[in-house]
Amino acid sequence: MASDQLSAVFGALADPTRRSILMRLTRGDATVGELCAPFAMSQPAISRHLKVLEEAGLISRSRISTRRLSHLEAAPLRAATSWLAAYRHYWETSYDQLDALLATMEDEA
């Protein structure tokens, strides 16, 4: 998996609400209304979480007549939970930030 996609996946997984939504989707596809039910959160708020999950490739959405269903996509999730992924993500992100910092540092006198 490309490094920025993995970052998007970890970013999406870092939020507890989004992890709960994924947990729910392991039991089968669901509408926004159904996903809303366990949370004290508005439908637009849940929709924003679904958008993040969709952009990370963790869910796909389809429309059956008026019902818009969210579906869990397992492959990116498996890639993110493979044993080196978190370690790689940690150092990749850190070193990208270090690149940015080095570019701003003054040369030593």
Partner: protein, 157 residues
């Protein structure tokens, strides 16, 4: 952006990380040994790094704490062996949730013209210690729920 290379051989309690930077070794050394600079790059988004102690000299101590979004804190600490220099940094590491599982981290800097190759050689007491660390001792809470999700997803298909 340069690609990171990570080698973790099965059955060997060691991890090798290699990464090239467009900067001299002296800047890399400062970024690793100045507390304000270190806090600006180490660790992914979502983890706030606080440098508690940093004494970059032979026998000096270091300690930093990472705080996640839920306020959970993870501390790492150890000693410097030899004074950190533009050749590299040798330090021991211990994670506060795994007392006694000390490991050794040697960072080397090799200048190549305008660029510097950084290598991290991390050696653990056992393969179990390495695997715990690699699987994300730094993101314990997140790992636990990811593992549950992974099991659910795998069980489903």
């Amino acid at each position: 952006m340069t690609a990171i290379e990570i080698v973790a051989e099965p059955g060997v309690p060691q991890v090798l990380v290699t990464r090239e930077f467009a900067a001299p070794a002296s800047k890399l050394l400062r970024a690793h040994t100045d507390p304000d600079l270190l806090a600006r790059w180490l660790g992914p988004e979502g983890l706030q790094l606080t440098v508690d102690v940093l004494e970059p000299r032979d026998g000096g101590r270091w300690r930093y704490t990472q705080t996640d979004a839920k306020g959970e804190r993870f501390s790492f600490f150890g000693l410097y062996h030899g004074t950190p220099s533009t050749q590299g940094i040798v330090q021991t590491y211990e994670f506060d949730r795994q007392p006694g599982r000390v490991y050794l981290n040697a960072i080397s800097f090799e200048e190549r013209g305008e660029r510097t190759v950084l290598r991290q050689n991390t050696v653990f007491q056992s393969v179990e210690d390495r695997d715990y660390y690699v699987r994300g001792g730094m993101e314990v809470g997140l790992r636990a729920s990811l593992d549950r999700l992974d099991a659910l997803v795998t069980g489903r298909q």
